[in-house]
């Protein structure tokens, strides 16, 4: 299943929209999309997961990499609008407190 990606930049905040399943097949493409964003001048990166119905450990690994890149570059890295299935995977992996997770994009934009 194909994953579609696009991003929007506004006042130093890049929001990445992922549309599709975030599995072993999609992770390299998403990783390649995210990686350059950490080298740009933006101060925050928000990943909108509202159209991600499924995530596996390779997807989680990609987001953990993003988190590590954000730490090394001094940027904020936030996740928003996790579907119940995706949220459950984060819960099992006890990652909901590791990432900054927000219910809405508006919430995620606060304080970035």
């Amino acid at each position: 299943m194909k994953v579609n990606l696009h991003s929007e930049e506004k006042e130093g905040v890049v929001t990445v929209f992922i549309d599709g399943e975030f599995d072993m097949a999609a992770s390299p493409k998403i990783r390649n999309f995210l990686a350059p964003l950490f080298h740009e001048n933006s101060r925050s990166i928000i990943v909108d997961l509202s159209k991600v119905p499924y995530i596996d450990s390779s997807g989680i690994a990609t987001l953990v990499e993003g988190l590590q890149w954000s730490h090394s570059k001094g940027k904020k890295f936030r996740l928003t609008q996790l579907s119940p299935t995706v949220k459950d995977v984060f819960e099992i992996a006890r990652l909901l407190t590791v990432f900054e997770v927000f219910d809405t994009i508006e919430d995620a934009l606060q304080g970035v």
């Binding site: 299943m1 399943e21 599995d23 072993m24 097949a25 499924y54 596996d56 450990s57 390779s58 989680i60 690994a61 990609t62 953990v64 990499e65 988190l67 590590q68 119940p84 299935t85 459950d88 995977v89 099992i92 992996a93 006890r94 990652l95 590791v98």
Partner: protein, 147 residues
């Protein structure tokens, strides 16, 4: 569903979703909670991903044979590959406190499934068998619906 449903997919990550959808459709017939359906699909997916990564070392032209059975409310999945046999004792889930990319697949499998066994006593490849008792979840689901 004492009779098995079998599916064979290429060892190519692009086809993981085909297997996932098949399993989700099967589980839908049993009216399981969405959360459990997602978790079982995750475990099977992670196991198939491991076959591709470690058993077939990323080669995409091999096969993965998967069979599903639900008998007496016990879900069983068998995943057969013909790749490299790995030392299954090294399949250890990593500590969750150590936040780093990778290594979560085995953790998900061990956390969610009731039993996990790897059989390498064959000429080639591995047979992985995983089971999950669905009964407690079915009751819980029905009670929620009745409430």
């Amino acid at each position: 569903m004492a009779q098995s449903i079998k599916i064979t997919i290429p060892s190519d990550p692009r086809y993981l979703c085909v297997n996932r959808k098949t399993l989700q459709q099967i589980l839908t017939l049993f009216e399981l909670p969405e959360e459990l359906t997602g978790q079982l699909a995750l475990c099977v997916d992670e196991a198939c991903s491991n076959v591709i990564k470690y058993g077939y070392e990323g080669e995409t032209h091999h096969t993965i044979e998967i069979s599903y059975t639900i008998d007496n409310d016990v879900f069983e999945v068998n995943i057969r590959d013909y790749g490299k046999q790995c030392d299954t004792s090294t399949f250890q889930p990593r500590c969750l406190d150590d936040v780093k990319p990778g290594g979560l697949g085995t953790f998900f499998i061990n956390k969610i499934m009731d039993s996990v066994s790897y059989c390498t006593q064959r000429e080639k490849g591995t047979l992985l068998t995983m089971t999950k008792n669905l009964k407690p979840h079915m009751v819980d689901h029905k009670e929620k619906d009745d409430a």
